[in-house]
């Protein structure tokens, strides 16, 4: 019977155009999720091959070999190895960068030797040609014995040819490259009994990888290796060199022209400037400053539009729905919470966009290169810079990105300090607090003061991160050798379609992921804030309604009184009681019980702070959820205990610092637990960051008040 669906895996080295091909094949018809039991991002998509047949495609993380040295390479290896695995492909599309064919084919021959049908897709032939490299595809086919297709993933050329060959069942060919003749056959047999019986290469490879773990199986495998005096690293070196010989022969056979004397390429010229010994780091800092300025000023108008749109929508709902509990719940609970967060969507999208551009252009690898020496004394390496910068967008994917760091200690330190980088969830909090601290129009030279303070907050986060890393360095013991070997890919103009897809993915993850939490928290909060121990609430109501219903009271006084009543009701509610309960703990930081409620709710996610403030200050208002409105109301708040405004400079600064350091993000805690595979590290991290936040806020509050 003919299959209706086929599973295809996309495999290749990093920077070979894998993402572009994936996007060209699937368009927006894909989703990002996690592999079960791991946090490894799994991108799957599907596309039609014919009227009756679809292909499901999985994009596997880029890797240089099937002997994984880092956690992300492990995923690719695991899926290709295990035939009973759900995602085990019917076919592998191996995409290779033709301008660096030899190295790309190393992984290709390893994959082919697993006996999975594979087709070779050559990409970036134009880049190769510019360097004077050209191949005779027929001759290459002779040597590699698998179907070869030439494409240009960036220009979407050759995509139809791939689809056609996926339909052709006769094209599903396996090839063999490396022979195990030098290895003791008794060893192979013994290994096969505990591993894969069908493919000896796969069994040996798996044993080598598994022998590095700390499991019982690894002990047994090491015993077998010792028995036959098998040197696994020596074998791997030998394997890699043998493969290169086979590849070299094929590549030389198929090459049409040899490299002509290279002119300095554009990449070389740009690198002379961007990675300059003296200016490199300054250029990086200036670039960051520009990113923050743009993020702040470009988002201004879209923010106003979203705010305006939501206001119209809220008004509409409030006036259409019959007055009552449901109306209240939607307007003051859900919409108030959502408005507070949705208006930050433009800033978050811009931030993700800039990071994606820096990544796609090839600049991020250069930042790793120029920063490695600086990061080293702090127990990290140049590759740590990618998670750290990514941490400005979101700690969760960034902690996953730390997987590319081979050394376990450096990786752990990077994971522990990444949440100190100010993420996009803190943006709404910072923006709200900074705008209350300073006037919108304040300028310092050509710069908007808001943008500068914002940049300062990010710098504080960065310094806290590297100082903490330095401290952790002394507590985490590890002797594993560290190295930093990183490819610097040629500079590329980023593909607009790739960028748009990234923004779409991240934006919808924010709206739907964070949105769900925010709605849930807003509803719970609204319930807690509008109900309370019955007698208290009733007492307040009776007390006020008597005066309000008195005809002699003037309209203005009535309004004033009903506001007072609402705020006393909030204080008497469950939420209020709760806030009061923790007030003694946070009073030294300058926070009152209302901030206390917000601190608690933002344990789910930081941006909930703004939504909570909106909900709290909306429980007693007229349905105006706009940013300016809640700002005015917070500023007017008087602390009944001191008789002074609840929010002064010291409170704002204290709150800013608290949010910069505290680990108020359940997703981060969850991801750290998964990535470190322990509960010890997330607990240590949580306690450390909370203590750091509390201590610093206490200091700041007392210095400024």
């Amino acid at each position: 019977m003919e299959q209706k669906e086929i599973t295809v895996a996309l495999v290749g080295n990093p920077n070979c155009g894998k993402t572009s091909l994936f996007n060209a094949l699937t368009g927006l018809n894909h989703k990002v999720s996690n592999f079960p039991g791991t946090t490894v991002e799994k991108k799957t998509g599907s596309f039609k091959l014919s009227s009756s047949k679809t292909a499901n495609i999985i994009d596997l993380p880029g890797t240089y070999s099937l002997y994984p040295k880092s956690a992300d390479e492990l995923v690719t290896y695991d899926i290709l190895r295990n035939k009973s695995e759900n995602y085990y492909p019917d076919l592998v599309i191996f995409i290779a960068d033709a301008s660096n064919l030899k190295r790309n084919l190393l992984l290709f021959t390893q994959v082919a030797d697993l006996e999975v049908p594979v087709i070779l897709v050559l990409n970036m032939l134009d880049v190769a040609e510019r360097r004077g490299i050209k191949y005779d595809i027929e001759k290459l086919k002779e040597k590699l014995k698998v179907p070869i297709i030439c494409i240009n993933a960036r220009k979407k050329e050759g995509i139809e040819k791939i689809k056609a060959i996926l339909l052709d069942e006769k094209a599903r060919i396996t090839a063999q490259f490396f022979s195990l003749e030098k290895v003791n056959s008794q060893l192979l047999d013994e290994i096969a009994t505990i591993n894969d019986k069908r493919n000896k290469y796969s069994a040996l490879q798996y044993s080598i990888n598994a022998s590095n773990l700390l499991t019982e199986k690894a002990i047994k495998l090491n015993e077998i290796f010792n028995k036959y005096e098998f040197d696994s690293i020596g074998f791997q070196e030998d394997e890699v060199l043998t493969r290169y010989q086979i590849i070299d022969e094929a590549v030389k056979h198929a090459r049409i022209k040899n490299i002509t004397q290279l002119k300095a390429s554009i990449t070389a010229k740009v690198d002379k400037i961007l990675t300059h010994r003296y200016y490199g780091i300054s250029i990086f800092l200036v670039l960051l400053l520009m990113v923050f300025q743009a993020m702040f000023s470009w988002s201004e108008y879209p923010k106003e539009w979203i705010e305006y749109g939501l206001k119209i929508f809220t008004d509409y709902i409030q006036n259409t729905l019959p007055a009552g509990v449901l109306n209240d719940l939607i307007v003051h609970g859900i919409l108030a919470g959502l408005t507070g967060v949705l208006i930050f969507l433009p800033q978050i999208i811009l931030l993700f966009l800039f990071i994606a551009i820096l990544e796609d252009v090839g600049y991020m690898a250069r930042v790793g290169f120029i920063m490695d020496r600086i990061m080293r004394p702090f127990g990290m390496n140049g590759k740590s810079i990618v998670p750290l910068i990514g941490g400005m967008a979101c700690a969760v994917p960034s902690i996953m990105a730390s997987r590319s760091i081979e050394n376990k200690k450096e990786r752990l330190i990077t994971i522990l300090v990444t949440p100190l980088m100010s993420c996009s969830a803190r943006l709404p909090v910072y923006t709200l607090l900074i705008s209350m601290l300073l006037k919108d129009t304040d300028k310092w030279g050509p710069f908007n003061v808001h943008g500068l303070i914002l940049m300062l907050m990010y710098l504080i986060g960065f310094f806290a991160a590297i100082m903490s890393a330095w401290m952790f360095k002394f507590f985490i013991k590890q002797k594993e050798k560290t190295f930093f070997i990183l490819e610097l890919p040629g500079y590329k103009v980023p593909l607009i379609s790739n960028l748009l897809i990234t923004i779409y993915e991240k934006g919808s993850a924010f709206v739907f992921g964070a949105g769900k939490i925010i709605i849930a928290v807003s509803v719970i909060l609204w319930v807690l804030a509008s109900t309370g121990p019955q007698s208290n609430i009733q007492n307040i109501e009776t007390k006020y309604t008597a005066i309000i219903n008195n005809d002699t009271t003037s309209a203005i006084v009535k309004k004033e009184l009903s506001l007072q009543m609402n705020s006393q009701k909030l204080e008497a509610s469950y939420a209020g009681e709760f806030g009061k309960l923790i007030e003694p703990i946070i009073r030294p930081l300058g926070f009152d019980w209302k901030i206390g409620i917000a601190l608690l709710t933002s344990m789910a996610a930081r941006e909930v702070f703004v939504g909570t403030m909106n909900t709290i200050y909306s429980v007693n208002n007229d349905g105006d959820n706009s940013f300016g409105h809640i700002k005015t109301k917070m500023m007017a708040e008087i602390n009944p205990r001191t008789g002074k405004p609840s929010y002064n400079t010291a409170t704002f600064l204290s709150l800013l610092i608290f949010y910069a350091f505290a680990l108020q993000c359940m997703s981060t805690v969850a991801i750290v637990k998964k990535e470190t595979d322990s509960i010890k590290w997330p607990i240590i991290q949580f306690i450390y960051l909370t203590a750091l936040a509390y201590g610093s806020s206490f200091l700041v509050y007392n210095l400024f008040s």
């Binding site: 070196e237 290169y244 690198d271 290169f369 070997i485």
Partner: protein, 75 residues
């Protein structure tokens, strides 16, 4: 015997040997292997790490690892 840290700008060399067990394996996988031509491309701030041009790619590595790569100058 020369190693990669002694290579100056504008000179070309051929890799003769790569030392260091696990390091060597990683370098091989990145295309840094005996017989390949190398040239110095960039030096990072503070003189470390360095970026080298191979025939088809550019890779950066630390000075301490570059010491493990033995080279021979070519004209």
């Amino acid at each position: 015997m020369m190693n990669l840290t002694q290579l100056n700008f504008g000179k070309k060399a051929i890799i003769t040997k790569v030392n260091g067990q696990l390091l060597a394996l990683k370098l091989f996988e990145m295309g840094i292997l005996p017989g390949e031509t190398v040239a110095l491309s960039n030096v990072a701030p503070f003189g470390d790490p360095i970026a080298i041009n191979l025939s088809e790619s550019k890779v950066c590595l630390r000075m301490q690892d570059a010491k493990c790569i033995e080279i021979k100058l070519v004209d």
